[in-house]
Assembly symmetry: C2
């Protein structure tokens, strides 16, 4: 039932740290020291954020990561999409064909309401807004 997995939680912490830092480029080692997160896990997740154009990466001595976007343009919703795919609190058990009344399933409708609320919140929350 978790909306926020560790990937996402760690990503937010790292992004906030980078956004707050005076330095442009921050290495994984620094993040690990400051945030006390497991290094290989964090590394992999930052690589993903790089692939998805949220971070810029710098190889070699003195390298690390910097934000590729303004904190105002990094949305929680996007981070969730990156690590978990589309936001769905739903997911009908029956795959179309089997469920007789998918379209007016009352449970589905209720959950959809909650889902829509969650999506609108997540899509309007940015790293910038979490900075305080």
């Amino acid at each position: 039932m978790k909306l926020i997995t560790r990937n996402i939680d760690y990503a937010v912490r790292a992004l906030l740290y980078i956004a707050r830092s005076k330095k442009e480029v921050i290495s994984v080692s620094e993040l690990v020291e400051e945030l006390n997160l497991p290094k290989p896990f964090l590394r992999r997740l930052l690589q993903t954020l790089h692939k998805r154009k949220v971070l810029k990466a710098y190889k070699g001595y003195g390298g690390g990561f910097s934000l590729a976007l303004s904190p105002r343009k990094i949305y929680l919703g996007e981070l969730i999409r990156i690590f978990k795919g589309n936001i769905k609190l739903n997911e009908c058990i029956f795959k179309r064909k089997l469920c007789p009344n998918r379209n007016n399933c009352p449970l589905r409708r209720k959950i959809k309401e909650i889902e829509n609320y969650a999506i609108s919140k997540l899509e309007s929350t940015t790293i910038s807004s979490l900075l305080d």
Copy 2:
């Protein structure tokens, strides 16, 4: 990220079926035939609903389950609690001690807003309201 697992989905289907039926007592076999759900799984879940006083159970020939509560008194929130424990979209990675600013963690606050909305919806949705 699922709010509704199969336990809960199946439970809702079964409860709706029982609520709609003219008969009081419905056997697992009948539910399985009508709803096309896996029998041992459904059975176990109905036993749980019995233990949690949502259903009454009748052993022996002609036995089965009936509602122990009016459909107006069976809340989605309660079903979720029965099968998944308290509703939390949250769950801080760090256990109290470790996270420096648990109390004013901005991410936590945002998710809490969504959680509160979800809870209020789920606690106000009853089996009766899903009957149409």
